[in-house]
Every structure is written in structure tokens, then in C-alpha cells.
């Protein structure tokens, strides 16, 4: 059994939390003292399996001093979560800074390194450039008006602001949960939310959200959609693919009659939601499950296409490591 030097981490951790937090400003920031690499070194002191094992010991266990440095389960959980959040924030800060610097210095195409810091999966250069071009075209109203300056001046700051907002919302949700006792918000669930936090700010999500907000008020639309789901038009073969996905979901992650899921199911639900490019301030498995079903039910732009669903099924398989027959 190892002790991971908890006592010596307090001050640097507090600093990391401050330094790692993202800001909403569009200004360039000074070079940080704590780089992404140095925050990763601290994370490596708390591998997920070790952290979960240490968290499992009751507060009054004789080995508490050795496993958690005398910290209660709640304090230990909060420390581990903030260590991971600090590292994620540092990585996001690098990504954000690079994106804004790219705005000032480079041409239309974005560097792969700049775009590859979304946490779960890197975005291919060509794909991202196409999406950004499409987004800029949307702002201009016509592709003929897409110019470098428009992209620089409008698109990137708007995308960064949207990503900041998504990230702050995700962060606030986790902070609220950290007020709960260890038994109500175990570390396993916190890790699930951290995965969601990590992917909460991505170009894909930001582009999608800004585009939507530019055409209608998102909150009102969401409210209307929540009241009664509008079903998509399904093309040939769509039913078969969705039936496969739903059979898998019912067998593996469907909440029980009381709406509860196991911790393992919750983690899997977050992975599936991320694979479907869904995000939200969910705290219960039932909410994630319903968001997934709503996405399947509504499709994209009112249509459920077999090819889109097959792509979604493949991403779910990759994200969960499960095979969907």
C-alpha cells in the first residue's frame, strides 16, 4: 500500500485551482507558472484505481492515515476531483490560448495541435476547418462572404466564449455536488462527471450551440422541446439501427423502476452521451438516459437517417468498449 503524499499538496493545489480556472476574457494571458505538464504530474499521484480504493475505506478505518493521509472520504474526494479539474483546466487553458493566438497570427486553417485538446478525441484538421468555415458562412449569410477577417473577428471569440460558458456551467455543477456527503456523491460518480466536464468545452458543441442560438432562443426552444417531443422523419433502415441501440441501452444502462442506476451504468451513460455529442447539467442517470432517447427520437434537423445512426452506433461502441449486435 502506498501513501501519496497528501499533506504536502495543499498549498500547490490551491494555487493550481486558481491558476487553472478558465476565464471569460478575450485577452491573451501571461505564461502560466504551472504548465499542463506539471499539473499532470500531480494527477499521476492519484491514478483512478488507487483513488477509488483509497476512497472506499470508511472514515473510522484504522488504515485511513495510510490511505488518505487522515482526510475524511468527503475531503479526499474533493481533493482528488479538484486535482483532476485543475489538470483539465490547465489543458483547456493551453487549448484556449493557442486558439486565440491562432486567431491573431495564422491563416484560415487551424493547426492540428491547437484543435487536439478537447480531452476525449482530437478533431481532424480538415473536419474542424470545414466546420469553422461552415459556421463563418452561416454568420455571413452566404459562403461568398466568408473572409479571413470575419472568421478571425467574429467566429473564434464567439466560439471561445461559448466554450468558456459550457465549461463554467459544468464546473458549477460539480462544485455543487462536492458539497454533498461522500455517500451521496461517491468518487465513482464524480469521475463520471469529470469525464463530462472534460468534454464540456469542444468546438463541435460550441459551433452547434452558437449556430442554434443565432437562429432562435435556445432556452425557449429547449422548453418547448421538453414539453412534447417532436418525432423525426425516419428513413429506410433507421428503425433497425435504433432498435439495436435501444436493445443495448435497455440491457445495459436503463434506470430501474425508481429511476436509479448503478455507478457503473452512470459512467457508461456519460460515455454514451459524450459519444452522441450531448452535454447537460445532469446529475441523475435517468436524466442522461432520457437525453439519449430524446436525441434518438428527434434525430438531426427533424430527420433520422440510417447512416447517421450507424455512425452513432459505432461511436457508442468505441466509447463503451461494448459490441452492439
Amino acid at each position: 500500500m502506498r501513501h501519496h503524499g497528501i499533506g504536502s499538496l495543499g498549498a500547490p493545489l490551491a494555487l493550481l485551482t486558481l491558476l487553472g480556472g478558465c476565464t471569460a476574457t478575450m485577452q491573451a494571458t501571461p505564461a502560466p507558472i504551472f504548465s499542463g505538464a506539471s499539473t499532470m504530474q500531480i494527477v499521476e499521484l492519484y491514478p483512478v484505481n488507487v483513488a477509488l480504493e483509497s476512497f472506499a475505506y470508511p472514515d473510522d478505518d484504522a488504515n485511513n492515515q495510510q490511505w488518505r493521509g487522515g482526510l475524511s472520504r468527503q475531503d479526499y474526494r474533493n481533493m482528488v476531483v479538484r486535482v483532476y479539474m485543475s489538470a483539465m483546466d490547465a489543458r483547456y487553458r493551453d487549448f484556449r490560448t493557442a486558439l486565440l493566438n491562432e486567431q491573431r497570427t495564422a491563416g484560415f486553417g487551424l493547426d492540428v495541435a491547437v484543435l487536439g485538446v478537447t480531452g476525449v478525441a482530437s478533431i481532424a484538421k480538415e473536419s474542424a476547418a470545414k466546420k469553422l468555415a461552415a459556421f463563418a458562412a452561416f454568420i455571413a449569410g452566404t459562403r461568398g462572404l466568408v473572409e479571413k477577417d470575419l472568421y478571425y473577428d467574429k467566429a473564434v471569440p464567439a466560439l471561445v466564449a461559448a466554450m468558456d460558458a459550457d465549461r463554467l456551467r459544468a464546473s458549477a455543477e460539480i462544485e455543487r455536488n462536492l458539497q454533498k456527503p461522500a455517500s451521496d456523491y461517491p468518487l465513482q460518480v464524480a469521475f463520471g462527471q469529470l469525464m463530462w466536464y472534460e468534454v464540456s468545452a469542444s468546438l463541435d458543441t460550441a459551433i452547434s450551440r452558437i449556430t442554434t442560438e443565432a437562429t432562435q432562443d435556445r432556452a425557449e426552444a429547449q422548453q418547448e422541446r421538453n414539453a412534447v417531443t417532436t418525432a423525426c422523419h425516419a428513413d429506410d433502415g433507421a428503425e433497425d439501427v435504433t432498435a439495436r441501440i435501444m436493445t443495448y441501452l435497455r440491457a445495459n444502462v436503463q434506470p430501474d423502476a425508481k429511476g436509479a442506476v448503478t455507478e457503473g451504468q452512470l459512467i457508461k451513460l456519460f460515455r454514451i452521451a459524450a459519444a452522441m455529442n450531448l452535454s447537460g447539467g445532469w446529475t441523475k442517470g435517468q436524466e442522461v438516459y432520457e437525453a439519449i432517447r430524446t436525441r434518438l427520437s428527434q434525430g438531426s434537423a427533424g430527420a433520422c437517417r440510417k447512416t447517421d445512426l450507424e455512425d452513432m452506433l459505432a461511436r457508442i461502441q468505441t466509447a463503451t468498449g461494448d459490441r452492439i449486435p
Binding site: 412534447v228 417531443t229 417532436t230 418525432a231 423525426c232 422523419h233 425516419a234 428513413d235 429506410d236 433507421a238 428503425e239 433497425d240 435504433t242 432498435a243 435501444m246 435497455r250 432517447r293 434518438l296 427520437s297 427533424g302 433520422c304
Partner: protein
């Protein structure tokens, strides 16, 4: 537990495909009606049904029957696109016999 869905206007065949697709997600259809000019379907959200087992037919006089061996689910109404216009039509939904 039931789930209410709004269906977009379309041909009878498209509506059958759309409802069949949603049955894969929200289980068996139980009722069809038109509310404020929109087709609304109720699904029971518990009774999983086989794929492609739904059959939707026009039911102008309330006596339509489905294919051989099929069982009536409900009689109701839906907005059907016909000849470039949408109109409320009486319809009947059947569950096809297992193959």
C-alpha cells in the same frame, strides 16, 4: 408510464415508418389523435414490440381491417399529406402477426 410524441405531417407510409421508428425507442403505440392540427401519438414506454410490426391504414368509416392475423391497436386520426396538401384523416393502427 406513457410518452407523448408529436409526428410531422407526411404520407401514410411515412407516418407508419415514423411511428415504427419511435416504437423502437418508446415502445408500443397505444393511441393516435390530432391535437391543434398536429398528429399526436401515445406510447406506453414499457411494452417492447418487434420492429416493423406496425401497420397503419386509412379508416374513413371506422371499419378498416389490417393484414391477415393482425390485431387492432387503436382507431384515431392523423395529419396525412396527400396531393401536396395536409389533411386530417381517420386512421387505424394494427399490430402485424408475428412471422
Amino acid at each position: 408510464m406513457s410518452k407523448t410524441l408529436q409526428y410531422q405531417p407526411g404520407s401514410l407510409a411515412q407516418l407508419q415508418a415514423d411511428i415504427g421508428y419511435q416504437e423502437a425507442i418508446y415502445c408500443a403505440l397505444t393511441a393516435l389523435s390530432v391535437v391543434d392540427g398536429v398528429t399526436q401519438g401515445e406510447h406506453d414506454d414499457t411494452n417492447v414490440v418487434p420492429t416493423h410490426s406496425l401497420e397503419l391504414v386509412l379508416d374513413p368509416d371506422g371499419t378498416a381491417t389490417g393484414s391477415a392475423g393482425s390485431a387492432l391497436i387503436c382507431r384515431g386520426s392523423a395529419i396525412i399529406a396527400e396531393g401536396g396538401a395536409n389533411a386530417e384523416k381517420k386512421v387505424a393502427a394494427f399490430r402485424k402477426a408475428a412471422a
